[in-house]
Amino acid sequence: MTVVTHPESDVRARQGGTLLSVEHLCKQFPAKSGLVKAVDDVSFTIRRGTIVGLVGESGSGKTTVGRCLLRLIEPSGGRAVFDGVDLFALSERQMRTCRRRLQIVFQDPYSSLNPRLRVEDIISEALDTHGLARGAARRERIAELLTRVGLNPEHARRYPHEFSGGQRQRIGIARALAVEPEFIVADEPVSALDVSVQAQILNLIQDLQQAHGLTMLFIAHDLSVVECLCDEVVVMYLGRVMERGPSRRVYANPRHPYTRALLSTSPVPDPRARRERVVLRGDIPSPLDPPSGCVFRTRCPHAIGACAQVVPPAEAVGPDHVVACIRQAELAA
């Protein structure tokens, strides 16, 4: 007997329950004239074994979210429940132990590797911190990690400057994998790389994610990368979530005017593609003085008076698909 299931439910079945639940995350930075709300009331969940893409332009707060989750910067409010534990409630010491399970890969493979350390010491720093391997076992582990990310184990004695950008990013990935984490924040891991090298690293990230059943938050500004790589996508603008949902659904049927604009202006390598482009006017407003109500309204082609009055609540428009726009229903019609 064949059981016909919805193709998407297959995916759900293979993936586990919630690993990380971010609830009402806020982060304010002090500024001369008051507080800057870099991240304002951001909520989303990540299921075990999935990749969630976090997209937005500069100033959207996407990097701040990633760093708050690992407490590389301290959040100002909200919770991040990781496998039943609120990361934000942990003491500094407890968090340090917990970081073995959460790792990060940075954007710039040039500034994120210490130029004075050999590759073996860069990779094993976390091993040493957590007291995971010594002597021969340590050397073996380093060689194994280098092989896993596609580098030669003989490279362990070299320094970062001897490597190309793509190879350095492989080292950054090996460092993150060293402690066998369950969850990785990848903060624009391919943005600084040449196009031909980006594809190599994206394939590597996927292979590793599948081989180790990793859960990932993939921060990016390149929408096509996120569409291809991520199970779900969270779209941020000026510190807030505009829309989130399964990536297939969001890309096929974007419901928020900002998501639509973003998708329509992302260049596609096809000169014949005549798309209806929504070119937004103006710039992202200063986070020091964000617009009242909906933060996107000053650039939104559909803004009305009411948009300045209320912060739009997140409304469900489909399974796991949420949009923060008071006009989403009429705009969809």
């Binding site: 196009v195 031909s196 096509s224 291809c228 096809d270």
Partner: protein
């Protein structure tokens, strides 16, 4: 000097720009030829180390030592109809061309604008330097330039310093500055790379509109094939200091006659192509290996080590010549017919 075809503004012929680094020589640009016609946008595409930026700096004669044009010609038709070879033009004569007839905008507007002067002063200075007008007239023109690039409240913005503006605004100011003397050729070196996509779309729209309005030619240097598809008429693909393929934009995206261009396009994630059935992750087809170092290029074709179509002849000198694979479609590949 040979004649340029009537509508050609710039013709680069066998340009060689090398950097002598002690005993090694970086052949950053090694025999590059292409031309730009009036009102046309030519995109030069390549990854890091391809020589695309060195090509544009050679045309502007802004090379920093030890960079030096060691061969070839850069024929340019001046506004008065006369023809000059920029590669040999004395610096004094070059100063009358640079900024006035050929202008350039860069990737990072913050480093190209002077932080100590207001944007109004910087645009006025450009006009005063090249044209016989007074301060008041130059300022009035600066204001019109800001309006042209759609900066709101232009009058007030004239007195702003670069740091008071956003990245997108600064790139608009750079464009206003570049266009202040109505150049016939604008060289845009990755002008939208540092910008967000919604701002990038604004700047590309602006460049297209200004080109139609002013009738200038644009040499657009970029690594982004998506941007190329949107803005270019003609595309020149560079790899390791050489042109490997050249064709009109629609043709190039339809049929690539060089394995490198084909590989580059295949690397760009495209969900409709690369993502399989529901739940399947994408599988990209990367080009293996890394971009070669121009101080130590291999014998034969520079792309051979990364090429899926490689055969014995590819790794032997001399490397493949740039030939017409089809009408108006050049390829530097021994096996272009097999593609």
């Amino acid at each position: 000097m040979t004649e340029l075809a009537a509508d050609v503004v710039l013709q680069v012929e066998d340009l060689r720009t090398h950097f002598e680094l002690g005993r090694r020589v970086a052949k950053s640009v090694d025999g590059v030829s292409f031309s730009v016609r009036r009102g046309e946008t030519v995109a030069v595409v390549g990854e890091s180390g391809s020589g695309k930026s060195v090509t544009s700096l050679s045309i502007m004669r802004l090379l920093a030592p030890p960079g030096r044009i060691i061969g070839g010609r850069i024929l340019y038709r001046r506004r008065d109809g006369s023809m000059v070879d920029i590669a040999e033009l004395p610096e004094k004569a070059m100063r009358a061309v640079r900024g006035r007839e050929i202008a350039m905008i860069f990737q990072e507007p913050m480093t190209s604008l002077n932080p100590l002067f207001t944007v109004g002063d910087q645009i006025s200075e450009m006009i005063l330097l090249h044209e016989p007008v007074g301060r008041a007239a130059a300022r009035a023109r600066a204001k019109r330039m800001l309006e042209l690039v759609e900066i709101p409240a232009a009058e007030r913005r004239l007195d702003d310093y670069p740091h008071q503006m956003s990245g997108g605004m600064r790139q608009r100011v750079m464009i206003a500055l570049a266009l202040a003397c109505t150049p016939s050729l604008l060289i845009a070196d990755e002008p939208t790379t540092a910008l967000d996509v919604t701002i990038q779309a604004q700047i590309l729209d602006l460049l297209r509109r200004l080109q139609a309005q002013i009738g200038m030619s644009i040499l657009f240097v970029t690594h982004n094939l998506g941007v190329v598809a949107e803005i270019a008429h003609e595309v020149v693909v560079m790899y390791a200091g050489r042109v490997v393929e050249q064709a009109p934009v629609t043709r190039l995206f339809e049929r690539q006659k060089h394995p490198y261009t084909r590989g580059l396009l295949a690397c760009i994630p495209d969900a409709s192509r690369d993502r399989g059935a529901a739940g399947e992750r994408l599988r990209l087809n990367p080009i293996p290996g890394n971009v070669p170092n121009v101080t130590a290029l291999p014998a034969g074709c520079s792309f051979a080590a990364r090429c899926p179509y490689v055969v014995d002849v590819c790794t032997k000198d001399p490397g493949p010549p740039l030939v017409a694979a089809e009408v108006a479609h050049l390829s530097r590949c021994w096996r272009h017919e097999a593609l």
